[in-house]
């Protein structure tokens, strides 16, 4: 297990280095001069030259590369031209808002996707299965921004069930003291349940938007792996021995379907790291995605580059966690056997 862990961490560090190199390549090496993009469409040549010198773009590429690598790996993602602040601290400040949104969205997606997936597999070929399939396909072809607008229109503008897309809390409400950075949890820890309720109400629409879309891949994966498990020989044997159906479904079926489900949840988390730009922009959610959106609007490439590196690193870290969960669930991996599944 320890050896497995070590190998996994080493290979993911290589991937992180790769991501950092790719980002450098995209931002600095590709045609489309970063200084010109950054200077904006009406900049004079002097302005462009000034920016070039300021960011070291006029240095030879190997020198730029060395500077870039050494600053990134000491945790310095540069200075934002939009805010003038340090990109690393600005991203770290905004991360909890994004993670809170992601956390609840994945929970909602799993709560929708897993039961429907199990039901569809258990009733394979019936109208339930058909309906769940249509839901899954709709989810895979849904545009996050469209669903978000639809929900805002009906649940906020028409019905007033939830607050409008403003922020994490109503304007003027003081956020809870930071413990975890999750407003809902912090408010509860401070014993302020009114505030917790408010935080949940502001979370509702963005979480619903992401959760409904993300439920689709989870549903598909649960259904497919449940069908595999239910058609396996040990399930057939269990049924022939007269084990109660529900017990077969959950003990023999679902436990064996857990592995692919873990993968699906990991993929979903990764997808969200990209999709949250759209949702955070739409709901004015002050997370890293919204930060990236603001950076794009003014060609703040330094900030955008920082966002991409953070997302890439989170994504890789997530995959390591998923693999560890995998190993924990599946004794074949934990004990170092070869897995052919």
């Amino acid at each position: 297990m320890l050896r497995y862990l070590g190998k996994r961490v080493l290979s993911s560090m290589a991937t992180v280095v790769g991501i950092v190199i790719i980002v450098f390549f995209i931002v600095r090496v590709l045609p489309g001069d970063a200084a010109i993009v950054r200077a904006g469409p009406y900049a004079t040549q002097e302005k462009i030259d000034e920016i070039r010198a300021q960011y070291g773009f006029s240095d030879p590429l190997p020198v730029q590369f060395k500077d870039y690598m050494s600053s990134v790996f000491t945790g310095d993602l540069g200075t934002s031209i939009r805010t003038g602040g340090n990109v690393t601290t600005e991203l770290v400040d905004r991360l909890p808002a994004s993670l809170e949104l992601a956390f609840y969205a994945v929970i909602l997606a799993a709560l929708i996707g897993i039961p429907i997936g199990i039901l569809a597999a258990a009733r394979k070929g019936t109208w339930i299965d058909g309906a769940s399939r249509v839901f899954a396909v709709l989810g895979s072809s849904m545009a996050l921004f469209w669903l978000g607008l639809l929900l805002i229109y009906f649940l906020f503008f028409r019905l007033r069930w939830f607050p409008g897309p403003i922020d994490r809390l109503a304007i003027g409400t003081k956020p809870p003291g930071t413990i975890t950075g999750f407003y809902t949890i912090d408010a509860a820890l401070h014993g302020d349940f009114g505030l917790m309720w408010e935080a949940f109400r502001y979370l509702a629409l963005p979480v619903l938007t992401l959760g409904l879309v993300l439920a689709a891949p989870i549903l598909k994966m649960v259904r497919a792996s449940m069908i595999d498990a239910l058609e396996s020989e040990h399930v057939r044997t269990a049924r022939a021995l007269g084990v109660p159906y529900l017990q077969v479904l959950f003990r023999d079926g679902f436990r064996n379907a857990l592995l692919p489900v873990t993968t699906a949840i990991g993929i979903v988390f990764g997808y969200m790291l990209g999709g949250n730009i759209i949702v955070e922009f739409l709901f004015a959610w002050p997370g890293v995605g919204r930060y990236a959106y603001s950076a794009i609007q003014v060609n703040d490439l330094e900030a955008l580059q920082g966002f991409v590196i953070v997302v890439g690193v989170l994504y890789v870290a997530l995959n390591v966690v998923i693999d560890l969960v995998y190993a924990w669930i599946d004794p074949r991996i934990r004990l170092g056997h070869k897995v052919d599944a």
């Binding site: 991937t15 790719i22 489309g32 994504y315």
Partner: protein, 302 residues
């Protein structure tokens, strides 16, 4: 758990009627074939019908509607009605006319991205899978790294740094999807190159390149075609998502994502039609491709 590519016509093969076979092919009248395709793959038919309509609109629609760029300051925010199907926006532009013009751009962008990424990806996949060695090793590490990004973020940062233009958007999104085709084709080729006909082709004196591209590649592309249908749908979503964020295609171009971005602020004041109609088009087009790809992929993999 191999993908189910069976088609209702398949069992009616003529060879099985022979003496040694013992298997008599069922008779398929044309009526049962049609009925069973509709019954077995209803979503495929739905997807194809929607997509045909979109293609039709994309080809002839722009000639039938008014100029989408015409503004009319006295006629802004008209709600949908018989003459203005999708209403008008804050500049008095006809939302329906804009959506029709956008169909041409969006549908063709989706298809171009799918075709480009499939052609490039499967070519690399064949080379990588058939010849193996160092090239394969490098390609696999490269795809690993590209896949380490969420595709949307990769496309986003690519467009943001090379600059906004339609060709740049197409290229950026294509780059994000190429690795999927490399992986898919490579896996097929690895299985395919062990088969006996490959040995046969080699013994017949064909060059490795000829075997790779004339014999192995055509047999390895099945899953890639299915993937291409799915990618076309995702590409439309990705391009529209980028435009929605102000990356890539910019106003006043008539593009669905741009239109949603322009109309989004109106939602809060109850003028739903400026954003929800073009957004609905995006979802409908993506859904049609998804239906087609999904049904072709077979039910087991869903």
């Amino acid at each position: 758990m191999s993908p189910d590519y069976s088609f209702p016509l398949a069992p009616a093969s003529t060879e099985s009627g022979g003496a040694g076979g013992g298997f008599v092919a069922p008779e398929w009248s044309s009526e049962t074939v049609q009925l069973s395709l509709w019954r077995r793959k209803p979503l495929l038919i739905v997807g194809l019908v929607i997509m045909s309509l979109f293609v039709l609109v994309a080809v002839i629609g722009p000639f039938l509607v008014s100029d989408p760029r015409v503004t009319n300051p006295t006629n802004f925010y008209k709600s949908p009605s018989g003459s203005l199907l999708f209403g008008t926006d804050k500049f008095g532009r006809d939302v329906f006319a804009r959506a029709v013009h956008a169909a041409r751009l969006d549908i063709s962008i989706g298809i171009i991205i799918a075709v480009l990424s499939m052609v490039i990806g499967s070519t690399i996949g064949v080379i990588s899978g058939y010849f193996g060695g160092l090239v394969d090793e490098i390609m696999m590490r490269l795809t690993d790294m590209v896949l380490a990004f969420p595709g949307f973020v990769l496309a986003l940062v690519l467009v943001a740094s090379v600059g906004n233009s339609v060709p740049n958007v197409v290229l950026a999104v294509t780059v994000a999807y190429i690795p999927y085709f490399i992986r898919l084709t490579r896996a097929q080729v690895l299985a395919e190159r062990e088969l006996e006909y490959v040995d046969g082709a080699r013994l017949a004196g064909n060059s490795p390149w000829r075997i790779a591209f004339r014999h192995v590649m055509p047999n390895s592309l099945g899953p890639s075609f299915v993937q291409a249908a799915l990618v076309a749908g995702w590409a439309i979503l990705t391009v529209a998502g980028l435009a929605f964020l102000g990356v890539g295609i910019r106003p006043p171009t008539s593009e669905w994502g741009v239109m949603v971005a322009e109309g989004a602020p109106d939602i809060i004041t109850g003028k739903w039609w400026t954003a929800l109609f073009p957004g609905g088009m995006i979802v409908l087009a993506a859904m049609a491709f998804q239906f087609i790809g999904d049904e072709l992929r077979g039910e087991e993999l869903m």
